[in-house]
């Protein structure tokens, strides 16, 4: 190529100066935010400025401005595919969210006017999103997430309890207690008083969503004065369902293996893997480890604490160090956690000597401690594991 067609040094200098100034402007836009600009326009400006820089480098420093079109063709094809990938990725992550709100069941819930009360939302553990690790470690987990509710007073609104009629009737008996005591205790008493409720309640595998749907159903059935209290009553009923399931387990010390596996696969498998092997260096194994923890002095309680309140801090398992965070699973029902723990202890290893399957009451008892993930770690140190 003849020298005449080359970009001159002075052009390079000017381009470099402009690039430097743009970089400073970008820096200033972020470091000294302009209130009048607003965040939307600031982002727009930042992206626009980076595109200008991008184009200037490609045009002048990479000489695409004067060079053969073939090069530009190849490069723009790559850019096009990259942008398409980019848009595709974004769509994959953003669209499902948008579509979810139009799903029939979600829409039905919205139309029924069902909304989660603020008091409930405050009690939902966000698993530390947007909090620093130190803060998570220092914050005790909420011990009791149940919401104390006013018991229905209308004598005829037993209809709102048609989810679990006998247990509900019993809970009404213990209703005065629920304002002072924790609901867990109240409902445990209730089921103890009404063993006939057990079968009906055990069948009731009420998830939050079905409970919500039922609460709206129940609300329409009830008379006007009772309808205000109906969601709360159904809330109470759903809290009882898992608690009620403990009664047969306590009686026979047998537990639902399929349910334990299902809870484990839904919540624990992503990190600890289906085989309980974990991921070396990232997520500790449970197989060949949980049983030795269980056998340690205080290990049985510790395992319940770890699932209820999480675990944060460096631990050593089979000679490998893990320094991550186990989230707290206290939002799951006692019976679910009990069965998941039983699954962990029996699925891959011989069950430890003197193994007593966890029952919901064991978990409920641990729940009262309200430990933080850091406390659980401190507790682990006292177990005398190698």
């Amino acid at each position: 190529m003849s020298d005449g067609k080359h970009t001159s040094v002075s052009t390079y200098v000017i381009v470099a100066l402009i690039l430097g100034v743009i970089t400073y402007v970008e820096f200033a836009l972020v470091e000294y935010p302009q209130a009048w600009l607003g965040s939307g326009w600031t982002i727009f400006l930042l992206v626009a400025l980076s595109i200008v820089k991008f184009v200037m480098v490609v045009m002048f420093f990479m000489h695409l401005k004067d060079d053969d079109r073939t090069y530009s063709g190849f490069f723009s094809s790559g850019m096009f595919i990259a942008l398409a990938t980019f848009v595709g990725l974004t769509a994959m992550f953003i669209l499902p969210k948008a579509v979810a709100s139009t799903r029939p069941d979600n829409r039905a819930a919205q139309e029924a006017g069902h909304a989660v009360p603020h008091e409930l939302l405050d009690n939902i553990e966000t698993r530390g999103a947007s909090r620093a690790p130190a803060e998570i470690a220092d914050t005790p987990a909420v011990a009791d997430r149940s919401v104390s509710v006013e018991a229905p007073t209308a004598p005829n609104d037993a209809s709102t309890y048609n989810v679990t009629p006998p247990a509900g009737a019993a809970a009404q008996g213990g209703a005065t207690a629920s304002t002072e005591e924790t609901e867990a205790t109240a409902s445990t008493e209730a089921t103890a008083e009404a063993p006939g409720a057990v079968e009906a309640a055990a069948e009731e595998t009420a998830t939050e969503e079905t409970a919500a749907a039922e609460s709206t159903e129940a609300a329409t059935e009830a008379d006007e004065t009772a309808s205000e209290e109906a969601p709360a009553a159904a809330e109470e009923a759903s809290a009882e369902a898992p608690a009620a399931a403990e009664a047969p387990a306590a009686a026979a010390i047998s537990w639902d293996k399929d349910h334990g596996a299902a809870v484990f696969n839904a919540n624990c498998m992503a990190c600890h893997q289906m085989t309980g092997q974990g991921i070396p260096g990232a997520f500790p194994p449970l197989a060949n480890h949980a049983v030795e923890v269980y056998a340690a002095d205080g290990g049985r309680d510790y395992l319940a604490d770890a699932v209820l309140f999480g675990l944060q801090g460096a631990i050593t398992v089979n000679g490998m160090t893990y320094n991550g965070v186990m989230p707290a699973w206290g939002h799951l029902a006692d019976a679910d956690l009990a069965d998941a723990l039983n699954h962990v202890l029996t699925a891959w290893d011989d069950e430890p000597a003197g193994f007593q399957p966890y029952v919901a009451a064991d978990i409920a008892a641990r729940r009262a401690d309200g430990l933080s993930a850091g406390d659980v770690h401190a507790k682990r140190e006292t177990l005398g594991l190698h």
Binding site: A16, T23, E26, S50, F86
Partner: protein, 207 residues
């Protein structure tokens, strides 16, 4: 350069017919552009992944706790200026000015090394603050993206230093400029990738 090579190829075509050639463009340069196009898709996916998982980390540290905009602005500026030295170096070689070619090339490699130094400093700082590649989604996507970019810069520095050494081993002439040019294309590409990363990863975080 390409015109020189073209006329070369054109005159060469008369003496030695080369039926397999469909283009008059220098092979190495065309190859480099094809590679850069593929690398664009590569980085496009990495940046897209970073953005898709943005603000989805369950545990800290989070980007806002760690990013140091003044520091990153300086390293961005260093990389931009290395691109400027790169074009000066190519210009010098085309003028057969070996002295200046060596000076500017050494400058590019030096600035690239400074950029890498900033990155090592940044990564060390982040690691001390508790961010690792398996700490959270931010750690995973951030280290994969900027780490891949850092590897590209490292390769670029090694490439430029090897060209510099070559100029001492055997005489480099203006006709060798195409080899410096493709190294330059690669270097500028690494620069424009950083221009995008600087904006979408660092700056936007603080708006």
């Amino acid at each position: 350069m390409s015109a020189e090579a073209s006329s070369h190829a054109a005159s060469g075509a008369g003496a030695h017919p080369a039926p397999y050639r469909s283009s008059k463009l220098p092979d190495v340069k065309l190859l480099m552009w094809v590679f850069l196009a593929s690398d664009t898709m590569f980085f496009g996916s990495l940046i897209g992944t970073y953005l898709a998982y943005r603000e989805r980390s369950l545990v800290g540290p989070f980007p806002r706790d760690l990013f140091d905009i003044p520091l990153t602005t300086v390293s961005t500026f260093v990389l931009l200026m290395s691109s400027f030295l790169m074009v000066l170096s190519l210009h010098a070689l085309r003028q057969n000015d070996i002295g200046k070619f060596r000076l500017w090339t050494a400058g590019v490699a030096f600035f690239g090394a400074i950029f890498l130094g900033f990155q090592v400093f940044e990564f060390t700082h982040f690691a001390h603050a508790g961010l690792s590649i398996h700490q959270n989604l931010f750690g995973t996507t951030f280290f994969i993206l900027t780490g891949t970019h850092g590897v590209h810069v490292t390769v670029g520095v090694i490439w430029l230093v090897s060209l510099l050494i070559t100029s001492y081993v055997r005489p480099m002439k203006a006709k060798d400029a195409v080899y410096l040019e493709i190294a330059g294309l690669y270097w500028h590409f690494v620069d424009i990738v950083w221009i995008v990363i600087f904006t979408v990863v660092y700056l936007v975080e603080f708006v």
